[in-house]
Symmetry: C2
Subunit: 666 residues, 2 copies
């Protein structure tokens, strides 16, 4: 192959083709993957990295870097090729291991695995929404920490997305939110290639996408001549100047230059050796696999030096900032290292009054917020119900960017992914509330938070039929156990106001994954801890609350509001001459972290009569009660009626529990 690089155009073309064909080779070697977008859109990612992105490939964690998110995660090969070319810690060997066990180049980008990957993407619509969260975190931190002459937080967020990203409802929610918030440092580029997996996007999609984004308050740009590099670059530059979030349509062709160009066939499967070679030949490219022209690498890797230089400049700025504003600087550093304060804990009251656990949560949150200045959050239009309002702080709005109360709107799904974006960005501790039932609307981002080890806190209130009249559409039945099934999601359902304190303590301490705090709508008794073991035991997931005799014959396990049913049941059993043990069991996640000795001390092997009481689907409790155990649970949907009437109707009373126990065993 004859390489000439006499102009910028030549070198651009050389690096772009290197990215394209490295991606093609990855897919071909793995015999698996998506060649279409890399062939068609590599010039866009190239331009962003080469001309726009502020980054230091040798320190992908530099806090003031620009962020780039490949929302169309299926084009992962393109991202890995780009990261390799631009000097990140990715080798050709890594590229050759694309989609293989143990590699750093998995099928879809995984944030925890690959240097330079800002977000785990693939499930469509998530990445673009993460980008909104990142831009929001940037603006918040900039507003709080920057001082005149000290723009210590000052960066841009770019997302490259596909047709599919834009069809998913979550991306509409995110775009509406971003438009409302006027997140002007966000640029989304649409790889407008007219092809989705099923074929031409016209099969299912005929909207005016740009018109829609315009209606959402974005500045929109249409680059019809999508391979005109000057035009794309100029448009990206204009977008950067906008006072709104920017949306750029770049008309591309999937599988550009290949025999399968403009067909769905090239979207998600290797094209085969023959066609791959043909594609390279058409481009005048070497047919050598994983071929990297030295000139290309030399050019793109100058970003190593550039990046180090840029970070150095920033570090010098930050050193001066530190001297001028030592407290702010230290606060910022602590925030990015997730060094959240623990001072607040001693400030929490000992709750003595009966109250809904959601209410206790609101009180705790408000104390916490004073000590963790970058904890920001809100609710999907249920802030009062969820008790998520930080009373002493303003709303976070476009004209009030240092506010701390976020109104997500009725948009649970994007709330979840925006929180993920904020956690990816770092420096803030995001929390968000909705009714537990609507956790169903946001399962995809919850799962991605758990997978990507993001510290995000969910406040899920109205946790059972106890919420009452709103009825079965609003009463969670399967949501609590369904959340417990998500790996690395810590689910906690405290039984009273004091356990709520410890739940928050766990959530704030737990930095390697999300925590869901599940709370009642209705008031529940507060346990007098002079008579019961300390609420601190919540950290162990489950603990003995009470034995009503030396040799309990029955163990009652319960969580949340049902702990009080269990306590009453134990009293009633005692009146019937049956000694029992009551275990408060707020979190199987935390309990499973304990050693066997502790577990057996809570649920002794020798006691065979074990009962679980929880107003949710009961299946998960078999693990603890065994096949011969008794589970008092919700096996159907709920009903519309006052909460108390429903507890009675569905058998969550001491009388009903004891009756069942006696029928079964005594």
């Amino acid at each position: 192959m004859d390489i000439k690089v006499s102009s910028q155009k030549d070198i651009d073309s050389l690096v772009i083709n290197t990215i394209r064909f490295l991606s093609l080779d990855q897919v071909e070697k793995a015999k698996s993957g998506h060649p279409g977008m890399p062939l068609g859109a590599s010039h866009v990612i190239y331009l962003i990295y080469d001309r726009f992105l502020k980054f230091n490939p040798k320190n992908p964690n530099w806090i003031d870097r620009d962020r780039f998110i490949l929302s169309a995660g299926h084009a992962s090969a393109m991202l890995y090729s780009t990261l390799y070319m631009f000097g990140y810690d990715i080798t050709i060997e890594d590229l050759k291991q694309f989609r293989q066990l143990g590699s750093r180049t998995p099928g879809h980008p995984e944030s925890w695995l690959t240097p330079g990957v800002e977000a785990t993407t693939g499930p469509l619509g998530q990445g673009i929404t993460n980008a909104v969260g990142m831009a929001l975190a940037e603006r918040y931190l900039a507003s709080v920490f920057n001082k005149e002459g000290f723009p210590v937080i000052d960066h841009y967020t770019y997302a490259l997305c596909s047709d599919g990203d834009l069809m998913e409802g979550i991306s509409y929610e995110a775009a509406a939110f971003a438009g409302h918030q006027k997140l002007n440092k966000l640029t989304v580029i649409w790889d407008n290639n007219h092809i989705s997996i099923d074929g031409d996007t016209k099969l299912a999609w005929s909207e005016d996408v740009l018109g829609r984004f315009e209606a959402l308050g974005w500045e929109v740009f249409n680059v019809e001549d999508g391979y005109n590099l000057e035009l794309v670059e100029e448009t990206l530059r204009k977008a950067k100047q906008s006072d709104k979030p920017s949306f750029i349509s770049v008309r591309t062709h999937i599988g550009y230059g290949s025999p399968l160009q403009d067909t769905a066939k090239v979207h998600g499967a290797p094209m085969g050796k023959e066609k791959a070679i043909e594609t390279k030949r058409r481009a005048g490219w070497s047919t050598e696999e994983f071929f990297v022209p030295e000139e290309a690498l030399n050019y793109s890797r100058r970003h190593i030096e550039l990046g180090e230089e840029r970070e150095r400049e920033w570090s010098e700025l930050f050193e001066r900032y530190k001297r001028e504003f030592p407290e702010l600087a230290s606060e910022l550093e602590r925030a990015f290292s997730k060094d959240w304060s623990t001072d607040w804990y001693k400030e929490l009251p000992d709750f003595t009054e009966d109250m809904a656990t959601r209410k206790a949560s609101g009180k705790v949150l408000n104390i916490l917020a004073k000590h963790i200045p970058t904890m920001i959050g809100g609710s999907a239009d249920l802030s009062e119900s969820n008790n998520t309002i930080l009373k002493d702080y303003p709303e976070l709005e476009a004209n009030q960017p240092a506010g701390r109360n976020i109104h997500y709107g009725v948009r649970e799904h994007s709330m979840g992914a925006i929180m993920n974006g904020m956690a990816y960005h770092g420096g803030v501790l995001p929390y968000g509330g909705t009714f537990l039932i609507f956790s169903d609307y946001m399962r995809p981002p919850i799962r991605l938070a758990a997978m990507s080890k993001l510290q995000v806190i969910y406040v899920f209130t109205h946790d059972s039929i106890g919420l009452g009249e709103d009825g079965p559409t609003h009463q969670p039945v399967e949501q609590l156990p369904s959340l417990r099934l998500i790996p690395n999601l810590c689910v906690i359902r405290p039984c009273d106001a004091n356990e709520v304190k410890v739940a928050w303590k766990v959530a704030v301490s737990r930095k390697e994954g999300p925590t869901a705090i599940v709370l009642t709508r209705q008031s529940v008794p507060v346990l007098d801890r002079s008579m019961y073991p300390s609420e601190e035991n919540l950290e162990k997931g489950a603990y003995v609350l009470k034995d009503t005799g030396d040799k309990p014959e029955v163990v009652l396990l319960a969580s949340g509001s049902e702990v009080h049913v269990a306590l009453k049941s134990a009293e009633l059993l005692k009146e019937n001459g049956i000694a029992s043990r009551v275990v408060s069991f707020p979190s199987d996640f935390l309990f499973e972290l304990q050693d066997d000795e502790y577990k057996v001390s809570v649920i002794p092997t020798e006691i065979k009569r074990i009962v679980a009481i929880e107003a949710s689907k009961g299946n998960l409790w078999y693990k603890y009660v065994g096949r011969d155990g008794l589970i008092i649970s919700m096996e159907s949907f709920g009903k519309s009626a006052p909460g108390g009437a429903l507890f009675e109707h569905f058998g969550f009373t001491a009388e009903a529990v004891v009756k069942k126990i006696k029928e079964k065993w005594f």
Copy 2:
């Protein structure tokens, strides 16, 4: 109260106020509910029922009725008042029982409970999307069954929605789909009251909603003077003429006429007796509770006669149609009574070739489709992967409305709710496919299908780490057990091509709820049924596949692709001198419907060593294996690698299974 009804205006006003104050009284009596929208939007629902809707209150199941869906289900009191006024089987006593245990007037509308309620709504965005599904079903059936002079299916669909409905991403997806499909007989009215639960919608929402709908291909109308009845009526009339779906913004005021007008306080809580009386006084209304002027009732209940007349006319038309087109007529009748054919079953091949269960599903589906002419469906942009294409039938498109292959686009959430809408409508049997992992995007409508007893069939392929290289973002781990937790959802995970046949048989026979068929991406062996019990046993949920000795010491339970791991494990155990039993366990839902005798015959109480093998989160299996059982499952997220390598890596091989069994018990 002095009642004058000298003009149409007077009577309109009288009925509207009756609806408003009956709703207010319901909420006040229940001390729970949402008075704001009924006070502000009753004139809209009144106009629709009085001037537009074709209905027979005495037969809410008349198939050619117009459909009205209250997407803003929280305004249920308004719907109940309306149904009462217009002659449905709802009494004042029912209204007085609003939100009480056992009543027919629950907190949010429940389709199975209340005559005239077309869809279960409340979770926002669902109702408007159901309406899209209804309009789609109507157009499909009209296209297939209507003949010149015989418009036997010819009706309109109306949905009344709130700000919250429009903020939810699902409603964007549905609107994009409806615009693309040009569903011109659909009219959505937006109760544009500027207030959501958190306060002014401006807190979170500043988009140009009409501009957005226009971009989506809708005809949009803006009624600023929202209480001008003539104007609202005229606009509804124009909307009916449009060749696009219509979206009408009606500017209203939440809590109209009350002391709390235009505040969030009146959205979701009773205003208290004093304010309620004050509101009535301001309107010159009687303060008597549940007051219904005779003149109002007489007027609105003339629809009883009108409706009967209309249905009679239709019945006469249908009788003539029957004579002219007896086969079509009978087909239509059977379709609406869900009398799906069973003829197809004997046409299914005995599969003898190894294949992915998704592939077998595609083959079965294509045979089925010939026998069930109103079975229509598709996929969320994965039709080839999901094997959901009906090969002999065209696409269902705006210009091809009798097509049967629906391209939902990358819109799983709305796909779920559109299917629900079609099932509510009746006459069609909807199915829809996506990857199992993306069932997470559509949990809210799956739940509502289960709750509302809708026959909907989900085809969930790529069911485990077996899908391979796409990696953890695409590999279901918790999805299978999470779906199993939804009450009244029948989940089936067949082990081979022949079990797939029976899974479809169950799904088509099961009319009182949805069925999810969970299928592999990768090829699996087909069991030679001359050596194993019949696949028909799948109907029992679990059955003995093989005993490797007279007295099995170990029972191996498995589903789907892991059944083959279990069979190999049993062979290996036998070589080790250990007799075992292999149980194919495709559906705990179906198994739990069996009697104890059968259950014990499959998993004998006397065998204590029980093993479950399933490449999903394992917690649900404790029910069957007990606390001392062995569960071989996925307790973490997956990895990106070829499927075979992952099965080995995560221990789903006979060698690994036997090793664990021996370590534990032998």
